[in-house]
Symmetry: C2
């Protein structure tokens, strides 16, 4: 069934007034991570994304100073994400529900929209694979790993991953379903032992909320679009605006557009 485009617009409207994670909103539509950087940092970032396509699949880049994207022509990138983070010199300076003032401060910002794994959660659910953070009504757990991204110019940092517990007999199917969507992180980067990614304790995620892992389930890790925020923390550009982890930009593009 083709998803109703009105649901994507309605989700963005709701995001203007409600601060909550967006997993499960507007099922069937692509969700995006966001990072806005001064023009002077745009080349470094686009190259960083090209060199790290699993965590940073770029779906659109705005013109300098623009708040509009081809992924959702009617939307305003300054208001249509539930929660933004304002970064100064690599430090989290503020979290705001409306980033209009922050944008006005730097009129030359370029905005990058990056695929989000929430996009393939709809096909996972359609296959009968429970997505635990949606079932629990919380944010997805995300972890800073020990795996270094390939640096680009002034940008470097470790990869961030999201985690979903999957029953052992459905892991292969979850890998294949998500693998059909390389534009929104694709197949898992790691299955099983969190120690292999340098993660000490699954119950203490670096971003988002912990979720229950049941007997017979395996933690499965996907590259995550919060990786640019880890790069901001490590590389300290003078200014950046990002979405808050788990609080995504809902686009008008059906999931199916990315399927290979």
């Amino acid at each position: 069934m083709r998803p109703d485009p009105a649901s994507a617009a309605a989700a963005r409207l709701a995001c203007r007034s409600t601060v909550a994670p967006t997993a499960g909103m507007a099922p069937g539509f692509t969700q995006c991570n966001m990072i806005s950087l001064p023009r002077d940092w745009a080349w470094d970032f686009l190259l960083f994304a090209q060199r790290n396509p699993k965590p940073c699949p770029v779906l659109d880049v705005t013109d300098p100073g623009s708040h509009q994207t081809a992924l959702a022509p009617g939307a305003d990138l300054r208001t249509d994400i539930p929660l933004y983070r304002i970064w100064r010199d690599g430090l989290l300076a503020d979290e705001v529900a409306d980033a209009t003032e922050a944008w006005a401060e730097h009129p030359d910002l370029l905005t990058f929209l990056i695929g989000c794994s929430f996009t393939f959660e709809t096909p996972l659910q359609a296959a009968g694979i429970e997505v635990r953070h949606i079932a629990q009504g919380c944010n997805v757990p995300m972890y800073l790993t020990s795996r270094a991204c390939r640096p680009a110019g002034r940008l470097h940092g470790q990869m961030v991953v999201s985690m979903r517990p999957i029953p052992a007999d459905r892991v292969a199917e979850a890998a294949m379903i998500s693998g059909r969507f390389p534009a929104v992180h694709g197949a898992p980067v790691h299955v099983g032992d969190p120690g292999g990614l340098g993660i000490a304790d699954l119950s203490r995620p670096d971003f988002g909320d912990p979720v229950q892992i049941r007997d017979g389930e395996v933690p499965v890790f996907w590259a995550c679009g919060v990786t640019p925020q880890a790069a901001v923390m490590a590389s300290k550009p003078p200014f950046a605006i990002t979405h808050a982890p788990g609080h995504m930009f809902v686009t008008d593009i059906p999931d199916s557009q990315w399927q290979v």
Copy 2:
């Protein structure tokens, strides 16, 4: 069977002294299109590639002035392609087998390596699908289409496609096999009537050689990494070096790395 890495290095060595299309060389290894542009044009090009991922899947970007790529650490990008094209103000100024002098002229060139559909010809052949230009021992036919790329900054132009005639009962399989390799153009962009792409006469390709189309075969069109050369012709940057169509850079990366 894992392809022998020595065959990729041997192919590059052969390309230093022999001018011939590279389809069929070093089977199992990724081949690349190449374009080198002055640093001032690098942002426009990387954005053009992001906006047109089917014809321009970027696999690596060099540092300014470098002739080395992570895709083949021992290689020299100035000599290891069989034939180069030198462009001045959007016009083809020269074709050379060694681009060392041209590179020396512009020490700030950045080089982009872009996936090539020759990469999925090995899996097509493994499935018993004949690749006509390899069977005929000629270059693949390529056509300038009427389909506009999404512009980026000063860069614009029409998409170029490669064509392979496929028996009607194997078209679906050819689409699925190539579709698993989005990093090297992925699934076809058009199947059948050349008129739908604005191509008047299949026997007169814009680049490469015509191939025989047999009864019961359908022309199948894939996005092509010669598209940047069409953008050079249309957008007229002051200087560029590219490979000559069909004369690719052979990397050390096995095809399988790109499979989703």
